[in-house]
Symmetry: C2
Subunit: 748 residues, 2 copies
């Protein structure tokens, strides 16, 4: 008998890549010692340190048995016997009623999608996907994204049946209630087993493109001819709503371009959205569009009961390795509800007691609410031991890999764990006053390239502005269909898709650190994705150049005004606007360290001098004194600036000091970081007694009142920009040292 570790990887994959048989009389015995559950250790690197590898004998027995079944399943995939089909029906109806019952109890939610998509959900989680319910963070798991996030009861029901600890019966009963693990839309930070936060339509499919990209990239970098150590699929369910959103088209165009063959998307084609039949607003031919986007397209005509059609489609999808696949599954929304199926009324409201009863009768469901029949429970119970075995198998494989490929294994390990290499921050460049003046976008490129050398999971790119955003990693080539091991991502002019793809990359594995770039003003195109970064705790780094009227001639459509304020108002975002080289390096240090919140770096197009007093340590405080000729924490006036205007504040200070004033200059690079400092620190920078305060920033003054107080003056721009050379606009708009001096003099 072969030990699991001597099994080749391809054999091991074979044993999983075919569908599981249903109702097998031969599940792995739960008493088997190999199946002791790994500790649930989110989010550390799971399993690598585990000592519970399968024993030779036990493992051999199990694998033999599983391989035998696999072959049977493979041969008989379309000829399941009646008993098996009946059990699948029962399992599918269990999913439907868990959704119906939870929505009914909450009197809020979306029962229609789970009722229609239960068959594909069942097949995915019960027959197709490789996962370990007791360790939702197992690195090599298949990823599932419910892009149609409103249908989250589908996913909660599946996680519950599969044995995830995160969704117990009481959690289902607490659907949409305060503090529950089952919020109204899937939240990755609430519910282990949920990969990404969805709900805002179109985001999920774009996240999935990021997840599939991450797999493809890591596979290309780390797989060896004798060991495919990275090897999983990404599955998605998206609906008509997602299909209408532009972000979905952007991301799917890229997925086709990149040839992400292991991305398999189920399009729940139910012809109903909130406003009624899609006939009123959505009559395009989705199949044709996806063919244009370079996808393989399959149509499952009966998604309600056509289990074998669904299975065959997945099988076919897996044979197409150079294109992502869209499986259009025609379903009936609210399937089973005699009076509400196929109508918008079942989309987003509880069925109501009467219709729930009618549906129970119609589908022959005699059980109490939230009941999972014993045979269904038993059927699903194998996923806990099998999942543990899968992970153990992979751990064993990794152990082998590590022996042969020490360096690669160490690098992959650090990506999986997310532990930053010791001393990584020393790679960041430092600058002196003598360093040549430069645009912070250029200084940013130095940082990006420095970080790429020391952070193995660092990758990213721009939305067709690489040469303007200065974001190319010089040591790497482009991530493309045939060079997926490279790290420069070329997003094209697709800002929204770019942001959401980066969220997917970030959530794939803790050590992947994606950055993405465009002009700062075009954060407007991707704001919904940035908000999901913030909400879902994705530490994406947003490299946003051309951060003010300083970009000049392109004019008001390209000049950000309100953008700094708009992100300062957004929770869990670090908005950073560095003034020079050391502040840019500091901003990157902060961005890399903050793995649970996105950072937005606003960077200049125009050259800026390196200023005395700026520092990485200062940046980490968010606001700090860069120069001061006062004593006793009692300056006559405090001047504050950010980014390119810190230079102006400093110049104004020089002039005022010549006239005998005691002037403090404060760099306010990140309001969020400053807010987190102690009151004592804040008082040391902005003493309450000093009310003569002037701020200068080439953007909206909105929000500055907080720092300048009732008596201070904010110099900024509360109108749209203009098309002219930058210097001219600064002067015309009064963003000048003279203006600062005049304001300061009026106050002290």
């Amino acid at each position: 008998m072969a030990s699991s570790s001597s099994l080749t990887l391809s054999q091991a994959i074979l044993s999983r890549s075919t569908t599981h048989p249903h109702g097998s009389s031969n599940p792995p015995p739960p008493s088997d010692h190999r199946l002791s559950l790994p500790t649930f250790s989110l989010p550390t690197f799971s399993g690598l340190k585990s000592s519970s590898l399968p024993t030779t004998t036990a493992s051999g027995r199990r694998l033999t048995s599983r391989r035998r079944r696999a072959i049977r399943a493979s041969a008989a995939v379309e000829t399941l016997d009646k008993t098996e089909t009946a059990l699948v029906d029962k399992s599918v109806n269990t999913i439907r009623f868990l959704a119906i019952d939870a929505v009914e109890k909450a009197n809020s939610g979306h029962p229609g999608l789970p009722m229609g998509c239960a068959p594909m959900g069942h097949i995915l989680y019960d027959e197709i996907m490789r996962y370990n319910p007791k360790n939702p963070c197992w690195f090599n798991r298949d990823r599932f994204v419910l892009s149609a996030g409103h249908g989250c009861m589908l996913q909660y029901a599946l996680l519950h049946l599969a044995g995830y600890d995160s969704v117990q019966e009481e959690d289902l009963k607490g659907f949409r209630q305060w503090g529950s693990k089952t919020p109204g839309h899937p939240e990755n930070f609430e519910t282990p087993g949920v990969e990404v936060t969805t709900g805002p339509l179109g985001q999920g499919i774009a996240n999935a493109v990021g997840l599939a990209l991450a797999e493809r990239h890591l596979a290309a970098r780390f797989n060896k001819p004798d060991s495919e150590i990275v090897d999983h699929y990404t599955y998605v369910i998206l609906g008509d709503g997602c299909q209408m959103e532009g972000i979905a088209n952007e991301a799917c165009s890229l997925a086709g371009h990149w040839g992400l063959g292991k991305l398999i998307a189920f399009y729940d084609d139910n012809h109903i959205s909130i406003d009624g039949d899609t006939e009123i607003a959505f009559t395009e031919c989705v199949d044709t569009r996806f063919e244009g986007l370079g996808w393989h397209v399959i149509w499952v005509k009966n998604g309600n009961t056509g289990y074998d059609e669904i299975r065959a489609a997945i099988k076919e999808a897996k044979t197409v390795t150079d294109k992502p696949t869209l499986i259009k599954v025609t379903t009936t929304i609210g399937f089973g509800s005699p009076n509400k199926a196929n109508s918008y009324s079942v989309h987003g409201s509880a069925l109501g007691a009467k219709e729930v009863d009618a549906t129970r009768k119609n589908l022959g469901w005699p059980y109490e609410p939230f009941h999972v029949p014993e045979d269904v429970k038993k059927h699903w119970s194998r996923h806990v031991p099998e999942g543990a075995a899968l992970e153990a198998e992979w751990n064993a494989k990794f152990a082998e890999y590590e022996k042969k490929y020490k360096e690669e294994a160490a690098e992959l390990k650090s990506i999986i764990s997310g532990e930053l290499p010791a001393g990584w921050e020393k790679a960041l460049p430092t600058y002196t006053l003598e360093s040549p003046a430069d645009a912070t976008r250029n200084l940013s490129q130095q940082c990006l390239n420095a970080l790429a050398k020391v952070l193995p999971g660092f990758l990213g790119g721009s939305a067709d502005l690489a040469s303007s955003n200065m974001t190319l990693l010089k040591m790497f080539g482009d991530f493309q269909k045939n060079t997926p091991e490279e790290r420069n991502l070329r997003f094209g002019v697709r800002e929204h898709g770019m942001g959401a793809i980066c969220n997917g990359i970030d959530h794939h594995t803790p050590g992947l650190i994606p950055y993405c770039a465009t002009f700062f003003v075009f954060t407007d195109y991707m704001r919904a994705a940035i908000r999901i970064s913030a909400l879902s705790e994705a530490g994406v780094i947003y490299v946003m150049t051309h951060d003010s009227i300083g970009l000049g001639e392109d004019g008001p459509t390209h000049q950000p005004i309100e953008h700094l304020a708009s992100f300062r108002a957004m929770p869990n975002v670090l908005m950073l606007r560095p003034a020079d080289g050391n502040e840019t390096a500091g901003a990157y240090k902060v961005a890399v360290l903050n793995r649970k919140r996105p950072s937005i770096l606003a960077l200049s197009r125009q050259k800026l001098p390196h200023l005395p007093g700026t520092s990485v340590e200062g940046v980490e405080k968010g606001g700090y004194t860069v120069s001061d000729n006062s004593s006793g924490n009692k300056p006559d006036v405090i001047l504050m600036g950010t980014g390119s205007e810190l230079e102006i504040a400093s110049k104004a200070a020089d002039e005022l000091r010549k006239e005998g004033k005691a002037v403090r200059v404060v760099s306010f690079i990140s309001w969020e970081l400053f807010d987190e400092q102690s009151d004592a620190y804040k008082e040391s920078v902005l003493p309450a007694a000093v009310t003569a305060r002037v701020s200068i920033e080439a953007g909206s003054t909105f929000g500055w009142a907080k720092h300048i107080g009732s008596k201070g003056k904010a110099i900024g721009i509360d109108r749209f920009g203009a098309s002219a050379p930058a210097g001219k606009i600064y002067k015309e708009f009064g963003i000048t040292a003279e203006a600062v001096i005049a304001a300061a003099k009026s106050l002290c």
Copy 2:
């Protein structure tokens, strides 16, 4: 000889719908008295009051001549003689060099697109489009949108040649300079002749869908079997960048769904974007995608010199009346530049003196910079008289129409002029304290339906949330392919496209007042379009419901937090958050009156009582006292709130007054309107001496420091929301009267 007014409309259309001959020896004599120019009267209803209608004789002569030429052109469109082709070449090169020279002088800009697209630009403005250079606002003009706005020198050159006053030679020389009429991207508010502001990619094609929708709608409402009084085309040039943007796909999917046959889009297929060959990020098959979207697709393989191919494509496009047409025109970016053509280096930078010289040699262009050869000038000179004649012709037609269809003519006139019907605001509902409590989204629906009855240009809809946003106009049906006269727009789940389409509708005609709707949080999806509303002075009404955690169970992905602040920071936007019925009516009054800035109404999902003290007049001030038991403008404390929290502030005030406090409650429905009030008024509401101030708003506290001052307290939500019933979240987050009372007591 027939008088122009006795010509049937279809004959008149025929005389223009075929291409003009070039270099005709028979242009209308410039001395012809009919051709006296109408006064340039932007933005009033042009021409209707004009007395310079064509005389019978003169008109007959001209029309006969034009019809003869039209027939010749129609027969000979692909067999122009050499002289004519040579002149077209020369005109096309004039366009190229005006762009080259202007970019060179500015040392900034995008020469590549104008050089490649000059042929289609020439054909459109010289041969195809119907317009009056001296009245860019003539109602029935063909609309042109340069969606690839960076190539604006193409449009400036064309406007210059066509005789628009807005682009004189000195304007070309002032390209991208302070105060010029030729900013770095096309701005409708700077340059008469530019229909919409473009530059941010994808916006223009979506605007064009709105322009075409407006034409289709007005045509359906006002055309008569004997008089097609509304009848124009909408032309667009979009590039690879626009094609990649999700918003373009959203808008084009709708254009296909609506069957907008008079929308003709030229796709400048030059295979180059800023990052280089589109091969690196954009390999989808655009043709196939557009076929999927329901468009007619034509491919012009030689867009550089294939004039007849371009002409034939336009001819074909016009025969397809039930689908929009995409003409893919394969061009060479920077055509004519021997060393830079077909490369990204010509996309966004001046060619440089050396390459300009080389291009002059290569294209055989011996002229000085900015020179327009005499024969080219002469050739184009006919557009001024012809344009005037076209408008005069239409005015005559309208006079006939008015005689027969008095009521319709009056309605159309008011739409064209944008004059609101006298007393329209009296249609808005009023409420008393006894009116039943209701969600402001429902009160909003009452306002929308009231306005639709009195405002003939009022139309709009929701992004698949009509039944949640409460935006259906009950007296109208859906605008659809076969019912374009109706006014409920069904946008599907396409927020970004929706916003930009509404910008297009707004800019079509002054009296069209579009509204659009989604959940407030999803303004993130359409923020770039809202910003263009603000910048381009489009008075779109954004009906944004579910405006806080008050939406409850849908959770943090659906709960706006930072959105109020983010729009308060945006220039030229009215952010309105009404608290009850009268404030909702007031918000609509303000929104309708503000035709040059967009209004965003944040509306509640939850029921709210009608409050004492609220009023339409108060709303117009932005912030006002709704209740006060103090005297001498010296309250002990000022409580401020907006929307659903004004009720909480009022309750807290009641409690505090019971305890003997002098409390003022201020409704802060619109910060922008309050900012516009006099200092005296502001002091009367927020006396500087009263520093005890408490604000409450179920959103970010960001920005409130301005109103509460250094000593005040802001009660709000500086984190993401949660999934639970609304009441529970309010309590858990401390958005309560108790919190207001405690804060007030700590201050006074």
